[in-house]
């Protein structure tokens, strides 16, 4: 081949690079490994990574069962190793799948249009806010404090550099957004109110009431949904203007936090301000139905600095996982699945309540709840770890005002025996704190 090109050596081909920058040594990366060594190396890492623990963690990343056919299907090279379907005639598989994905997301969220995916739930929420800013021409945001704290951080990053002021709206004793406070914080420059439901504390918000308040003030309502399985049994926020979802719960592995699948859904009238790819139906020259990427004038490759977003590569293959998951469970299965989550959670919350305090009892919840213990939950968790159980997420870091609180999550995969073990250890913790306290009290009495 060198001869065909007319080069003497491969180094000739690199002559455009100024000599002084060319690397004259080997890169200092690990030596070349055989496939068997690579597998062994990662097996070792896998073992170091809490293989085979039962988990009560949720908080934006949910452990649900993943039907086997998801990986069987997405592993087909025709899906796995294809690029973005710009050449429609040899990409109809991907395109029809996206179209179905968009359609199902619409069915589930009650929205009219949905895009092909965003990076994740956090960036989807931030992009939704930017979209509301463009749609309303207003330049500030009210954000629920019960929105996932990391989503809030991401929004802050995006907003800060765009000089987008944002106010935080707090939650009440029932875990729901404080509506009075909310109403007051919305100004004539508020582009949108951004809430999460079920929110980070597991509570289902009254989206209708919030929408009414927001709309009354000419502001939009953006709802973030981080636990997609809730849509099987929880009424979607149909009154929202934009829904920013994290669809990880639908068949996407926890995978230490990614890749996940963000999605935006909205009303038809807002579609031209929605970022992200869209598949649309059309016909070929013989009138046969087919699908193409469409409304590209929203996108960076056409509009450059005037695009709705800079997003290009999205989460296509993960969206395909989500798609297959939704197809597997479908109309009936999703409801039954959600119901099992509800039942497990109700049982767990009930058991915990016998020994300690469950916060935000007043409102409906889906599969997460906050337990307040006398002892630091981190300490309880490290004892649970010995039982190969990962306890609920300590909230001190995010909500110091809640004290010794932790966010527990149950899904259809949580076994009763894991719940009972966890409850047992929490109960023990409570007993020993109480005993210690009584001892102190007793001492004080004797003194």
């Amino acid at each position: 081949m060198l001869k065909a090109i007319g080069a003497r050596s491969v180094d000739d081909l690199f002559s455009p690079i100024p000599e002084e920058y060319r690397l004259a040594r080997d890169l200092k990366v690990p030596r070349q490994m055989a496939e068997s060594e690579i597998v062994d190396w990662f097996r070792e890492r896998s073992r170091e990574n809490g293989d085979s623990y039962a988990t009560f963690l949720g908080a934006g990343a949910y452990y649900h069962y993943r039907p086997v056919i998801i990986d069987s299907l997405i592993s087909r090279g025709e899906f796995l190793t294809a690029y973005t379907p710009y050449q429609a005639e040899i990409s109809q598989g991907t395109l029809q799948a996206i179209f179905e994905f968009q359609s199902m997301i619409c069915e589930l969220t009650g929205m009219e249009v949905a895009n092909a995916s965003m990076y994740d739930g956090s960036t989807a929420a931030a992009e939704a806010v930017m979209m509301a800013v463009r749609l309303t021409g207003r330049r500030s945001v009210v954000v629920a404090r019960s929105l996932h704290p990391e989503y809030r951080e991401v929004l802050a990053t995006y907003a800060h550099h765009q000089n987008l002021p944002f106010a935080t709206s707090s939650f009440g004793d029932d875990g729901r957004l404080n509506l009075n406070e909310l109403e007051k914080s919305i100004t004539s420059d508020t582009a949108c109110v951004l809430i999460q439901s079920p929110n980070f504390l597991g509570t289902i918000e009254d989206a209708a009431a919030i929408a009414e308040i927001a709309h009354k003030k000419g502001s939009m309502l953006v709802v973030s949904i981080a636990e997609a399985v809730s849509l099987g049994i929880v009424e979607p926020p149909r009154q929202a203007d934009i829904i920013a979802m994290e669809a990880q719960s639908f068949g996407v592995p926890l995978g230490f936090g990614g890749p996940y699948c963000g999605v935006l859904a909205t009303r038809e009238q807002f579609v031209r301000q929605m970022p992200g790819r869209l598949a649309g139906q059309t016909t070929d020259r013989n009138g046969k139905r087919g699908f193409v990427l469409t409304l590209a004038t929203r996108e960076q490759h056409i509009r450059r600095e005037k695009a709705t977003s800079n997003i290009c590569t999205n989460q296509a293959l993960v969206a395909l996982m989500v798609n297959i998951f939704m197809t597997v469970y479908g109309k009936v299965g999703l409801k039954e699945l959600a119901k099992q989550n509800l039942a497990k959670t109700a049982y767990a919350a009930g058991q915990f309540a016998r020994h300690t305090k469950i916060l935000f009892q007043g409102s409906p919840r889906f599969n997460e709840f906050v337990v307040r213990t006398s002892e630091d939950p981190a300490a309880i968790n490290s004892r649970l770890l010995g039982h190969k159980i990962v306890g609920g997420l300590p909230l001190k870091k995010f909500y110091p005002e809640l004290g010794n609180a932790a966010l527990w999550c149950c899904t259809e995969l949580t076994t009763r025996s894991a719940i009972d073990t966890a409850v047992g250890l929490v109960a023990e913790s409570e007993r020993s704190v109480r005993a210690a306290k009584e001892e102190v009290d007793a001492e004080q009495v004797t003194r």
């Binding site: 990366v29 170091e48 579609v271």
Partner: protein, 493 residues
């Protein structure tokens, strides 16, 4: 017509909704081991009663649905996929295995650090490798794709300048740049100023000198640029930027031309992103997911997104959240971790020698194709090519045949087309990147196909204009799709 492809029977398949009927199911739940609950009682008005038109189908129908759909796609696994700028290289299957190992696939991002050591070590090892490969000083793996990396990088540029007093106003971007570059600058609140290319397709250093001033925060440069040309005056460019306190941002989309041969950190780059889904072999998956790590020089390190993974004194990896100057988070959790696993597996499979060899092969292949097609297609810039080559449709346009027509005809020849959408400085561009993965045999078939099309354009342009002829659908009407968008299925009634 071609030795590369023929036609074969292909299954039709409706929309999944069209296959749905009540009572069919592909799911089964285990018996509940806790008491059943009354959803209405628990949820009250929040209870959902109806799931609309969600489908009901059986498992074999789902397998067939997606299997049939898949057969309508072209893919790297089927043949050469020479999309310029996309680096459609082979996606090793071992990567797909290791990412599915239980401890990695089921690791929760919030699980306690003592049982997260495996994942953190992967993050740390990959970070170290990428720092070494780029010649930079620090890195974040949080961004989810290239464009997200650009955003992160420019946020850091902004924070850097802010820390010096003011964020500055503008980003300089060559006219050959990918669309994400200007779009990103706009998102970060910068004005975009276009930088003209010179006759060789490179940055016009004189123009740069003229345009550079204290209002310019950074130059966003792709190197090799989107013509596949290495910016030979890169050092001068960096100097001009630095002299006025500006930063040099490098879009690393084309790192496949450089790995193991030259390091951006060595030629003056201050901040850059990588695309793990290009250079480091993670699969494109029909459009994503990707991963866009951002590597920076020491001066920008304080501004890295939170958290940063570092090594404790005892040698164990850990997360550092205490980063007061950080731009903040750009994504929840750690980023597209699954892509880190794959990229690291790729690096381990190659090692120092393999990485260098890969780059050499990628450049060799692009030049082989360039040589093969010279003459048949117009080469607007004769500057030496690195990993890709950009032709134009100038010769064919005389017959009314455009780059997109040639692209569609290539489909009949059994290939995926090259990139047609950019660079904008080449009207009617044919941007071809074979990557190192292609064998001489496959490239010869490609050259043969392209030459044959060039002949067809001369002899029978209509055949090319009407292409593709061999696909299950003929050319699709994109205009109609955009004029009256149908973006979801709805029940007919």
């Amino acid at each position: 017509m071609t030795r590369k492809a023929t036609r074969h029977v292909s299954q039709n398949e409706g929309l999944i909704f069209e296959k749905s009927s009540p009572g069919k199911a592909a799911w089964k739940l285990p018996p509940l081991d806790v008491p059943e609950v009354d959803a209405s009682a628990l949820l009250g008005s929040a209870e959902r009663r109806d799931l609309g038109n969600m489908p009901e189908v059986s498992e074999i129908e789902i397998i067939r649905h997606f299997t049939r759909l898949s057969t309508w796609n072209y893919a790297i696994d089927l043949g050469m996929y020479p999309l310029g700028s996309c680096t459609m290289k082979y996606n090793p299957r071992v990567n797909e295995l290791v990412v599915r190992l239980d401890g990695l696939a089921n690791g929760h991002p919030y699980q306690p650090e003592p049982i997260s050591q495996g994942a953190l070590r992967i993050i740390k090892t990959l970070s170290d490798c990428l720092i070494e490969i780029t010649g930079m000083d620090a890195i974040t793996l949080q961004p989810a794709a290239g464009a997200h990396g650009e955003l992160t990088g420019l946020l850091m540029v902004r924070a850097y300048h802010q820390s010096k007093g003011a964020p500055r106003k503008k980003i300089l971007i060559p006219d050959s740049a990918h669309g994400t570059n200007p779009a990103t600058a706009a998102m970060v609140g910068y004005a975009v100023e276009n930088l003209k290319s010179n006759s060789q397709g490179m940055v016009d250093v004189a123009a740069l000198t003229a345009q550079m001033n204290e209002d310019v925060a950074a130059l966003m440069l792709t190197n090799p640029n989107t013509l596949g040309v290495f910016e030979q005056e890169i050092h001068k460019i960096a100097e001009i930027m630095h002299a006025k306190g500006g930063l040099l941002y490098m879009d690393g989309a084309n790192m496949n031309a450089l790995v193991g041969k030259v390091r951006p950190g060595d030629f003056g780059v201050d901040v850059m992103h990588l695309n793990l889904h290009k250079t480091f072999s993670t699969p494109h998956g029909g459009g994503g997911p990707g991963s866009g790590p951002v590597a920076v020089k020491r001066a920008l390190e304080p501004f890295l997104p939170r958290p940063v993974v570092l090594t404790r004194t005892d040698g164990t990896p850990a997360c550092d959240y205490d980063r007061p100057q950080s731009v903040g988070r750009v994504r929840a959790f750690y980023g597209n971790f699954g892509m880190f696993v794959r990229a690291l597996a790729y690096i381990l499979a190659n090692g120092p020698d393999g990485l260098r060899q890969t780059t050499e092969d990628a450049v060799l292949n692009a030049n082989y194709i360039r040589k093969g097609l010279e003459g048949a297609y117009d080469l607007p810039y004769s500057t030496p090519s690195m990993h890709e080559v950009v032709f134009s449709d100038k010769l064919q346009a005389k017959k009314g045949v455009k780059t997109m027509d040639i692209a569609k005809r290539l489909i009949d020849y059994g290939f995926h087309p090259y990139t047609t959408a950019f660079p904008l400085i080449v009207p009617g561009a044919l941007m071809i990147e074979p990557t190192e993965s292609e064998s001489k045999e496959e490239m010869d078939l490609f050259i043969e196909a392209m030459k044959s099309i060039a002949e067809e354009v001369e002899e029978d342009p209509q055949t090319v204009l009407d292409a593709p002829h061999s696909t299950r659908v003929s050319r699709l009407d994109e205009t109609a799709a955009a004029r009256k968008p149908v973006l979801r299925w709805k029940p007919q009634n």
